[in-house]
Symmetry: C2
Subunit: 663 residues, 2 copies
Amino acid sequence: MSSIAESLAKKQKEISVSEFFERNRQILGFDSPTKALIMAVKEAVDNSLDACEESGYLPDIKVRLEKIDQNEFKMTVEDNGPGIMPNMIPNVFGRLLFGSRFHAIRQSRGQQGIGISATVMYGQITTGKPTRVTSKTEKDKPAAVKEIMLNTKTNSPSIVSEDFVMWDEKEHGTKVELFLTGRYVAGKQSVLEYLRQVAIVNPHTSITFIDPDGKTFIYARATDKLPPITKEIRPHPEGVELGTLMNMGRASRTRNLRDFLKTDFSRVSERLAKEICERSGLSETAKTTNLSLDQYKKLLEAMQSVKYLPPQTDCISPIGEALIRKGLKNVLDETKPEFYSPPVSRAAKVYSGNPFQVEVGIVYGGNLPADQQVTLLRFANRVPLLYQQGACVLTKAVENVDWRRYGLEQRGGSGIPFGPAIILVHLASTKVPFTSEAKEAVASIPEIQVEIELALRECGRRLKVHLNKKETKARTRTKFEIVQEILPMIAKKSAKIVGRPIPKLSGSITKIMNVVWVDDSVVFEKKKHKVKIIIYNYTPHSTRFNLHAVVPAGYLDADSMEPKPIEVKEDGKVTWELRPIKSTETMEVRFDLVGLDQELYEENELYASGIDPTLIIGADPLPGDWDVQRLQVTEVAAPEAAVAEEEEDEVDYDESKEALSDD
Amino acid sequence: MSSIAESLAKKQKEISVSEFFERNRQILGFDSPTKALIMAVKEAVDNSLDACEESGYLPDIKVRLEKIDQNEFKMTVEDNGPGIMPNMIPNVFGRLLFGSRFHAIRQSRGQQGIGISATVMYGQITTGKPTRVTSKTEKDKPAAVKEIMLNTKTNSPSIVSEDFVMWDEKEHGTKVELFLTGRYVAGKQSVLEYLRQVAIVNPHTSITFIDPDGKTFIYARATDKLPPITKEIRPHPEGVELGTLMNMGRASRTRNLRDFLKTDFSRVSERLAKEICERSGLSETAKTTNLSLDQYKKLLEAMQSVKYLPPQTDCISPIGEALIRKGLKNVLDETKPEFYSPPVSRAAKVYSGNPFQVEVGIVYGGNLPADQQVTLLRFANRVPLLYQQGACVLTKAVENVDWRRYGLEQRGGSGIPFGPAIILVHLASTKVPFTSEAKEAVASIPEIQVEIELALRECGRRLKVHLNKKETKARTRTKFEIVQEILPMIAKKSAKIVGRPIPKLSGSITKIMNVVWVDDSVVFEKKKHKVKIIIYNYTPHSTRFNLHAVVPAGYLDADSMEPKPIEVKEDGKVTWELRPIKSTETMEVRFDLVGLDQELYEENELYASGIDPTLIIGADPLPGDWDVQRLQVTEVAAPEAAVAEEEEDEVDYDESKEALSDD
């Protein structure tokens, strides 16, 4: 008699990863016809951008959607990338978990080797048709054309047809044509919006889109500078886990423990490797292949007890403050926002051994709707995230900031704030921890959330400075207009009536106004930002105070400063001790910034001290601790700990093998 | 010279599914130590429950967590299931995408063949230790013990050790012991809360949990009735997609198109199969292996143009109204809610060919906090969902209902409402469309959302009836007390003072009160619900009106009804034409319900007609269209369409092969 267990055992079997996703395509993001169309465009465009950037070509992407019948669309995505070797085409498009970037520790859009073959699979499930790939890798060669389907039972490609064609208009590039069931819509979650957001964070890209009605949309390139090619790094020792460490140790080609630490990890110098060995109680010359579980535990403890330099940042590619602005301006022109907050780029940090960096920007005012929740633009590795906003740590960070402090409405001080603003959050990382293969939301990693919140608060502070200035100036200006226009008229009339000379009014005006008015402007000409600050003393008394400005460090032209400041700090904080200004008189402060992109300085950040703060309009009271950080365009995080090394000894693997003996 | 494409090609390779998840374990839900511990318990408990139920054993689950050091825990989960054949243990625990339920179209907790092996993998990555599995499949045999690790490079199991032991205290069962990094916490997202919610929706289960401090928690079984074993069905033709249809047709073992439709799909009768063939213009005897893409397209169109019976419901296992209540009461006792809404079970529906059914329940009042958002308990196939609430269609459906209509606070009529309530939503399906392998949230499938909203609105209506009754009764009772206590005292005092007899007050009281008071009660005794409705006429005039009650259909004892009603509808709507009641007099209406579980009837739903609705307290005005649906405990959905068949011709595959000739 067979047991229940035996009969159950007969049903147990392995399934292929493509069978799994065929049945669970919602995990890949193909859970509705609208979304399927966006996903397909996204996967193809991501691949094109990655390929172009890796190869140093400025991306030129063409996307076309054609309606075949009620539900069926044909998608064509064409790029000017390096092309794909003909023999690799079947696997790249017809096999899940096949790709070139999975093990590489550096930022890229695609990493999983799932996206485009999942799209091929979806197209074939819904229309029964193969995907056609045309690819040209060299100028003088013909292009390979293959029609591919994916065998889901075995997760392997079938070649339906193959041929070569001439493709003369292109030196190199790839064209993907596929049929799929979908629905084309307009709005916040649409192909057009997706491409618009791609353009914002990829200003080096030119995108042409032809919609199903044949209408053409062009997002022109806003810069000719390609982002630097990201470099592969070795794993950072911070946050490495026991099992991973054991796997690495057992697979290592190094001769001993010290070499292993030095060679297989980044940011571990010879000295640090020795220190770790000593702390762990293990011999520097121990063989990593022979260590026991307990020894690995001790090694891990020792590794976690020392401090490392932050990871190299050349493995990630933030957009940068200037380009975030350029991208936003390029695309948001129609809404004419009144204020682009200087974007904030934080220094690179690490979670579980993976370097990451966050950038945020805020756009305010103009035609943006004032009575709705702010628009949140989420990006990961320069890819827009349109779905699963509620499940994403980028959203959670925004909800967790008390925006009431920064001039936006927010019930209870948490949640998405209300107001005429767009908040942009970009996470760049060698490994973005998405919550699913659809790559729509980022998992709640505390380290990432903290960094985004810090960046948002700083951006919020800048917004607040702008709003304060705007509000107080507006309020005072109205008063001024009344006082300066009406008082003299009254005086004139009354003088006429009583037949006496018109009285001098400046005393009265200053008594009524009783403010020190700081009026500042920035003009960009001849590659210089010319800043002029005029201070009007509309109080009945003489006044003197200290004026402070925060400017981008390193761009200040010392010779241009008039009057000379008493202090110029390295981080861009400048202080003037002003001479006394008599009642009704004015004085001017001027300086130039040289060598800075126009977009990066549009509004002055001014503070005053040594004066009753209620008297002054146009400059905020100086925070007690001069707590006015302006992060620089390229901030380098300082090592925080005693054991951290100033410079990493870079050890090339082969060199080290030769140089180090097994002692 | 090699092209860029060539050098890129060298990096391209396939990775194993376990390597993928090793690097992307947040997708599996292992993204924080707290969550990892919950996930591990969840995966093991899900497996145990599935195995017990499939085999007809009432589950008896023991979970123990022990703290090994600062971050490391040992988890032990033991069940009384059928055990696992020794030769299957390595694959079940050491290979991703290995399982018995992937292709089966019927409801089960596990389907992916990922959960438990992912947990084994997580344990080994974080602690370096193997998982130990003890399994006994027959009473008189020893138990097999194996220590398993998962080779992530190849996605295959390694057996670290194997042995047999005696395990006398159990006839059969499985014990899993594994070590993992985690953090043990209390609160809304915790192991204890997870197990508590498992107990709510699995009242047939007994769960013992020993926490890291050695404290024992026991959730006792609330019923000895196992849920019916779900049956496997063939795919439902509604929503099948072209690619799937082609795959099915090409792999079919049937002889011709008509047989294919009849045999490989559920709910396609001989007549319907012929109808489809005719509509598609294809011959009934066409070979499905030879059809072209265009022919399949026509077939699909024809299949989509006819109507089918809803899928059989024996493939899904809803909890049922009675057990939802039992489960809630069993676990919520300490909060003493004032009201358990009769849960609503909708009829089974289909999305993309997958049958599903939703159930909702509301608990209100008692010690539940009144000033917070209501607690939402989400379940899928009897498994609690603790994370990703914001990304889940179950949540979206709750947010999309205007709860202000049902007596809960809600800003703007959307979003999670506020109030002292718990809303339970259960989705049962042969395939729950989770947004990721972590199975934390259900994707936004419109068909599912609509069903949940309908169920919620009905549940909400019942809550509103309760709240209305409560409020109006409370208000009137206060008035009553004042009038009935104070008026006589005043009368007595005044009479004494003026030395005259105490006046008769009933006329004055009825003038002041001017209400008809309906007071009802339900008592459960001797397996009967005894309902008594007393009507007090506190108006100055004689009154008569129609009284209506909605009771569970089929349980009404006709002989017990006093007075006799003028109408008893099949769906449980009862109407009495009451005789006139004189001012200050009362009358009684009584009836019994027989054979209904005690939990299923606790409050009467009463309506009145033929009377000024402002006069009556304790019964709501009858909605104009008698639009008072009470869904039955076992509602059977009626076919909606002309072509739908009354009865499906069940054709066993082998039988059909013999019976049907190739004509």
